[in-house]
């Protein structure tokens, strides 16, 4: 928009690219990368997407019947978490927003832990020892505030001369917050091994992404920090994994931070506490179903001869059972003791606070907990 004139010189130029391998109908735009041609890997990705969708459905059902608190569904965005889960190495560190269940499952978070979290139990964030998730960060609700933690985590990695990568993910709305920008702005100063991921699902609650900012893409926000910045079709699990893996390996090899905007669509309400019909047209949602990540990837798998109707039936049965089992585990967990609210406040409870714990202990269980 600034016109060159005799008094001007061009000092910088930037381009933003979008990567897509799978069209919405499942056809290919180009030769897919090796992992997508590997039968086992290709099938595993699909399985994770489907299991995540079945889990998600179960979680919503639990909430609707009063057995779970507010829940943020991931319906329609399963490809992104799946791609993360497959692109990250076990030793890498994941700092997620609150909808990346597929990635979390891949990293060892049990399904019931996610239910526990949304069910109002802190123990849902004590991810199991011996799994990659044990050193990952928990879900983060205050939007974008977790993203700058990546700067410190990645700096620590450099300091310790480890070959690990940090992935910090968030939504399109999150990119309006100063926290996000401060991280983007700083990452390249120390050439930190970070991949910033923005899941642009078209909406931040009721705000369509085109009203969130004047920028035409969310990817270009990375230019503010001098980051290699690109878009990927986030409903194309092949492209998303390929792009993330490239960014991760570049970071691992000392190539520094980058930003990936994954284009997707939130097919569900924002959370179970939201009613999206208030602010968006059903037609838009219907159209988005046509771009469903599972549908298109399944078409690819079938065309590649990697998937059959029997496979599908077995997966659905198994995934349904897993979600059901997770729900049961969650529902049967014994409650925390009331005084557990003091257990991890400090490494050791200061003596001046002991009376508070004693008071709670003396009262015992309180009505209204559930």
């Amino acid at each position: 928009m600034i016109e060159p004139s005799p008094a001007t010189t061009r000092v910088a130029a930037f381009e933003v690219f979008l990567t897509r391998y799978l069209n919405p109908d499942g056809s290919l735009t180009a030769d897919p990368p090796a992992f997508a041609r590997d039968r086992e890997q290709a099938r595993a990705m699909y399985a994770l997407m489907v299991r995540t969708r079945l889990f998600d459905r179960k979680a919503v059902a639990l909430q609707r019947t009063g057995l779970l608190g507010t829940y943020a569904a991931v319906l329609g965005q399963e490809a992104i978490g799946t791609a993360i889960g497959h692109a990250l190495a076990a030793e890498d560190i994941f700092i997620p927003a609150y909808r990346e269940y597929a990635a979390q499952f891949a990293r060892g978070v049990p399904m019931h832990a996610i239910l526990q979290y949304w069910g109002g139990d802190e123990r849902g964030m004590a991810y199991p020892e011996g799994t990659p998730s044990h050193h990952d960060f928990p879900l983060s609700v205050p939007i974008a505030t977790h993203v700058p933690h990546a700067i410190g985590v990645a700096y620590a990695i450099k300091l310790k001369q480890e070959r690990r990568v940090v992935m910090a993910s968030c939504g399109d709305g999150a990119t309006s917050k100063g926290d996000w920008y401060e991280a983007i702005s700083a990452a390249r100063i120390w050439n930190l091994p970070i991949v910033f991921l923005v899941s642009n699902n078209g909406w931040a609650i009721s705000m369509p992404s085109h009203r969130q900012t004047g920028a035409a893409t969310f990817a270009q926000k990375g230019l503010a920090g001098g980051l290699p910045s690109e878009q990927v079709d986030g409903n194309d699990v092949i492209a998303t994994r390929a792009v993330l893996a490239a960014a991760i390996e570049r970071a691992r090899d000392g190539g520094g931070p980058s930003l990936v905007e994954a284009l997707t669509y939130r097919l569900h309400d924002h959370t179970t506490a939201d009613d999206a019909r208030r602010y968006r047209a059903e037609a838009e949602v219907a159209a988005a179903w046509e771009r469903c990540p599972l549908k298109r990837y399944k078409a690819y798998l079938e065309a590649a001869g990697f998937w059959s109707a029997d496979d599908e039936a077995a997966l659905v049965a198994d995934g349904t059972a897993a979600a059901e089992a997770a729900a049961q585990t969650f529902l049967n967990l014994p409650p925390q003791a009331p005084e557990a609210i003091f257990d991890h406040l400090y490494a050791e409870l200061p003596s001046s606070m002991r009376w508070q714990r004693d008071e709670v202990r003396a009262r015992g269980p309180v009505d209204g907990g559930h």
Binding site: A144, M207, R278, P338, I341, L345
Partner: protein, 328 residues
Amino acid sequence: MADLALIEAVNLALASEMQRDARVVVLGEDIGRNGGVFRATLGLLDRYGPERVIDTPLAEMLVAAMAIGLSTQGIRAVAEIQFSGFLYPCLDQVVNHATRYRNRTRGRLSCPLVIRAPNGGGIHAPEHHSESLEATFAHLPGLRVVAPSSPARAYGLLLAAIRDPDPVIFLEPTRLYRLFKQPVEDSGEALPLDTCFIDRSGTDITLVSWGAMMHDTRLAADRLAEDGISAEIIDVATLKPLDLDTILESVAKTGRCVIVSESARAGGWASEIAAGLAEHGLLSLFAPVMRVAGYDTPMPLARQERVYIPDVSRILHEVRKVFEMAPR
């Protein structure tokens, strides 16, 4: 005169003042078509249009800063923050600018703005959605902090907050949003901003509270009445500046005081009131001033929130201690 829930009274006050004063605008996240996450701004977009009902980007610091900029230009900016736990990014703007422009420009610029947010827990909301922020703001010079405890007070105090020439933090009791209804008249009449309400008269003990905890305090007083104890209840709806005089007068009469608040105990606003009593009410006091408050922990996730939030039994427990130390 319609029976309204507290959230409806907030909505009525906003609509009513936007109708009356074309300078009033509302801004915040999801407040337009969606009507706000609690529906406080329901219908305002249709009635007053997108220029006066401003959906902002997801950036609380910006919301506060934008309200500041608007208010310096004579616009009455009423900002909504979705939950008080997301007010922290606004704090820098509030303390370093909103409360200071008048002072530092010697009256040339000023910030007649309101920042509204639901405050407190008890509705089984997700993490970070149930915090109590009043003490953090009430410590800041040049600010007003208001926390209504009923639909009628929410209506009258919100009108007053919008009309006030200085910045006001307006903390709405989430737990009371839909808990009960009350007749509220759209009278356009504001309530005073620096006077405590004597919510109920009594002679034996003064119970001081505000916001959602007023509800439990009233229930506790009912129980005390059954035991023949007459509690005076003071609603400190306008926390800052604090009307200590009304509290002192009550304690001069009752000689006993228990202060009930939901926020963490250490450095909570209950401490400020107790300190005021230690300084000015010492000679009236028959018994120690007890604070019933949240514990010095973060608000737990939903399953344990009732462990944290004071309830009738905790209030009665402290009241009983007071009467043990100073029997009637």
